[in-house]
Symmetry: none
Subunit: 195 residues, 4 copies
DNA sequence: CATGAATGAGGGTTCATTCAT
DNA sequence: GATGAATGAACCCTCATTCAT
């Protein structure tokens, strides 16, 4: 069970692409195998199951994501700068792991009920603590508006950022940093001309 | 292949709830039948197929949605007021058709490739014209900032609004109008304290 | 899940026949379905799984077997009469449940490692207590020879009786009672002419 | 497709152990390879197929068995002495080839339908002639009881002896000769105290 | 001699769907 | 209107086998 790590990675990249395009449930192993140029059964030399493929895709993604987030959170930045850094980091992650992010968006809720995917729920809690905590810090410090429901604000930003994975195409017009700047500009200052 | 319209509506409401909770593909006809207190085969007296159930759910939702949107668009409001009205209308729609909206969010992309669901793509185009057009009108009129990429802004607002269906619970703390006000406040003025 | 008990019983009888003839592992559900005149998938309307079919076959058999055995053991017979009654009861059981007995013989050991089939191991222990206990009683009472290893004797009789299921054909030359008498005659008095 | 005979024998011994423990069908080539410390594909350097492994195991066993049996049958012993010698020889065979005997017990019937395993059916016929013939000789000579159905008696002894392979453990309490003596004592004189 | 990777046939199971009652 | 039973296609997965290296 297993094999050269490069082949695994190639196959996982292929699988992620198909999962992201069609949804996990709607994707057959045959389709993945077709996309990889092999027969369905051959995938099982490399992976235990279809489930273990998503598992590996998602946990690899979350691993990298949290490496980036943790670095940001440990940097001791102010609330506004932290939000800026987290948003930027998120768009970089979308750029590098677009299929994984799309899968995460669509499937995390169903999957997380299975014990095997318990880490998805854990991650979501950590996520909320990081973002909501920063927002609270900023509200207390007078950097963010005090008249907003912070839970609502948290969901607003979270969704806004990650949903981008559903339309983002790497190599398109905008770099991740450019998109991040625009998003931040909207989120922080609004789209209306301030009088 | 007929029957009282009320029974149909009840069954569709049940089906929508299950589809929204588990995803269209992951939902079996049996689960819907269980939830409706009948056997799987019995559903086929009321509906042609599983597909025709989502079809009916989605087209009913889109019908009502466009009734509301068209009324707003025909009202001759200014750009900012139009956006406000559209957002408010959207949250009302989420309040009334939460399961349908959730299904729409998750499944529209897969489904719209089938001829039968062509109206989903049509709706999306109409949607984009309405929102993007309003944003452009506002930017030209100096009501919205001119330094933002409007396509990006459009996606930003669209996602922000609809994703709410994934966590919104009718009868919760906030009324649709209250949520709309908060969202609009964030989107229009930003979350940062303006100096 | 389930249905008219008669249909279940018919299907189980068919399945038992095929299992007995080809072995549990070597039997495909398609073969069972063929023998029952239906498609493989249709079996799953009646049963959860191939495993649950053997399960039901074996537990039904053991249920009846122990009903008979318990009656014998509760009758307060002497050791020799108890052995005679148990042997006779066993051949009657083989006559009525030949396929089930054959399956039990071949598959019990593999299956009993699974928790679901724990009752097989339980039954085997009860079995040993009943037979070995009777033999010990008989040896103490001077009815059975004292110079034999009783564990060996137990296995000897046990195997002797049950293996008959592999060649016994109901409706053949001998009634179960006739076969039991011959077996008992051999086991009790030996095949050699006693001088 | 060749290689040192010792390696073959080692591998066959390993395979026989696994086949005996799990059944032929339930055993995967991978399990055999694992037990032999190699990969599944590597076995095919030594053997044509999984089938050829059992083939070699069974024919080697039957070869040795018949060498022993033929020697006994050619010795010109009386009926009782012949039976005694055959039983003793059988237990010796079980002692030396326990896995092969266990496989033979469980799989002979399925396998013998294939042309390749025709020799299994042949052996069974020879077997019956040897034992049944000896019993008839003994009955005619007044050494064995004349009131027993000899076919039944034959099956009784045959099963009794070979089934021992399913529980016999080499190096246990009893030597093969000791077990043979006990079995013979039971079979010849019965377990009841003769008045 | 052995490995790594793949093949391809088939096995157990699920599920939307049908239809006689 | 609903049930019970069956269909048939497709799905995930297993496994004996092959073969280039």
């Amino acid at each position: 069970m297993s094999a050269s790590p490069e082949r695994r990675s190639e196959l996982l990249a292929t699988a992620a692409e198909v999962f992201a395009a069609q949804g996990y449930n709607a994707t057959t192993v045959r389709q993945i195998a077709d996309a990889a140029g092999m027969l369905a059964g051959s995938l099982y030399y490399h992976f235990d199951s279809k489930e273990s493929m998503v598992d590996e895709i998602l946990s690899a993604f979350l691993g990298e994501l949290w490496a980036g987030y943790d670095a940001v959170l440990a940097a001791g930045l102010g609330p506004r700068e932290t939000i800026e850094a987290l948003v930027t980091e998120s768009f970089r992650e979308i750029d590098r792991h677009r299929p994984a992010v799309a899968i995460y968006q669509k499937e995390a809720m169903h999957l997380s009920v299975q014990p095997r995917f318990g880490y998805l729920a854990d991650s979501q809690k950590k996520f909320e603590r990081a973002w909501l905590g920063t927002l609270e810090r900023g509200a207390d410090a007078g950097v963010f508006r005090a008249d907003l429901d912070l839970r609502l604000t948290y969901r607003f930003i979270r969704d806004t950022v990650w949903v981008a994975a559903s339309w983002y195409r790497p190599g398109g017009l905008h770099t991740p940093e450019e998109i991040a700047r625009q998003y931040l500009s909207m989120v922080l200052d609004g789209i209306a001309v301030q009088s």
